[in-house]
Symmetry: C2
Amino acid sequence: KTRAIAVANEKGGVGKTVTVINLAAALTLANQSVLVVDMDPQANATKGLGILPDDERPSVYDLIMNNDRKAVEETILATKWDGLQLIPSHVDLSGAEVELVDAEGRENRLKEALAPIVGNYDFIMMDTPPSLSLLTVNVFACASEVLVPCQTHPYAFGALAELFDTIDAVREEINPGLFVSGIIPTLVDLRTRVANVVMQQLKTDERYRNLVFNTAIRSNTTIAESAEVGKPVVFYRRGSYGAIDYNDLADELLARSTK
Amino acid sequence: KTRAIAVANEKGGVGKTVTVINLAAALTLANQSVLVVDMDPQANATKGLGILPDDERPSVYDLIMNNDRKAVEETILATKWDGLQLIPSHVDLSGAEVELVDAEGRENRLKEALAPIVGNYDFIMMDTPPSLSLLTVNVFACASEVLVPCQTHPYAFGALAELFDTIDAVREEINPGLFVSGIIPTLVDLRTRVANVVMQQLKTDERYRNLVFNTAIRSNTTIAESAEVGKPVVFYRRGSYGAIDYNDLADELLARSTK
Ligand SMILES: Nc1ncnc2c1ncn2[C@@H]1O[C@H](COP(=O)(O)OP(=O)(O)OP(=O)(O)O)[C@@H](O)[C@H]1O
Ligand SMILES: Nc1ncnc2c1ncn2[C@@H]1O[C@H](COP(=O)(O)OP(=O)(O)OP(=O)(O)O)[C@@H](O)[C@H]1O
Ligand SMILES: [Mg+2]
Ligand SMILES: [Mg+2]
């Protein structure tokens, strides 16, 4: 059964995009078929998979605006890696929230667009912008679960409450099955006091402690380099801490699906 | 003459909030009077100055929605530090973009609200969310200049183009005086290859090289700790690299105003 995973956190720069790309890549190394859907107008997931946004080609923007009634199959791109496909983003997506503000069923545009092909994949990994507005809500409306990368810093920890409230609201009003399946500690540097303090908060807080993955994603410059070369770190530097951590996270994610 | 400074970058987690708080604090140490205006619904600048968002108290949301015609003076709070005042944010601000979408003059709400008191300060430092939508545009409409913190990573560098285009559009349509007065390299770790690569790009790119400050803000865990204790790092740990760098940046900013 397809797992459609929203990767979300309103706090900026906590590793949502890096997590989407690298979990997707690690899952293909575990023989899963994965579709990445990039719903951030900044298109970082698209670029991180080595693909440049292109005015000449349909993107996720055309899908949710229903431009020319593009079939979803026309938007899907192959990447260099088997089993890993992408629906790219485009800067025009930044206009979508305003353009859709009065539209019927505006939260369900992505869900309706993806419906024909959801079953073709083991995993659909969806990247979101650092906000809880319409683009993110569209992702929440078609997700079966939410993964929350959380930088071990106080501002990121503080953003969790609002995120969980939003997910509760989406569950009540739009998508009854939605739940947070895990919190991923990211950019972790356990030599620092603040990382240890926030890690402790994550593991003791009643709302969060049962959701925190055992795998923490350590701060590792190879991850930032891999964004520069447009490849997931698990392909780019297999032996690096970044690759090790995302492979371990993928294993943990696969194990959880049989709970 | 008051300098009203927008601190902006659509990329998340590049140090906008940390820059607002610490530049503001460092400027007061240089005997400037500073008002911080927190226009991010996540209220990180508010919390970083040791103040918790409060339902019982007017916030910047009430100002721009013109609720009860609150006088701007009623929203201004003192902080623990002389010369440093704050108009706090509140989570309700996240509703403002939708609530204002059809409103007359919706880009000028903040400008109109601040007009009575702008002249009371040497500097107004305005924090923005990681987006280029209505809240950020409101800040651009009343700013005299924009400072751009840029993490020395490829995604943050890639976000500059769209930001500069947006500022050009605001200059043409709403605020003729608006310009980018500087780019601040942030979260810099010059032991890493990627930071050196991006620093080089910043200093050679035609559009950016004349804007890059000489002062780089180094990655320094004391800065993250200072967010945890709700104090600017320049007060919390005066001798730390974080304090040194932000004091140097404030000096450079003051020197530029006499150009
Ligand atoms: N574990 C890590 N180690 C080192 N660098 C990392 C790590 N995770 C992310 N980064 C880098 O930190 C920056 C922020 O990460 P990323 O862009 O994935 O966050 P994000 O949550 O998607 O940001 P946004 O909110 O802007 O979408 C990027 O430049 C990325 O390459
Ligand atoms: N120079 C630095 N050294 C160490 N940590 C830093 C530094 N600058 C910022 N941080 C930390 O990195 C995180 C991101 O910084 P900050 O919240 O200021 O970025 P932002 O651009 O305001 O993010 P957002 O886009 O979510 O508003 C915070 O937890 C902050 O404490
Ligand atoms: Mg991202
Ligand atoms: Mg911020």
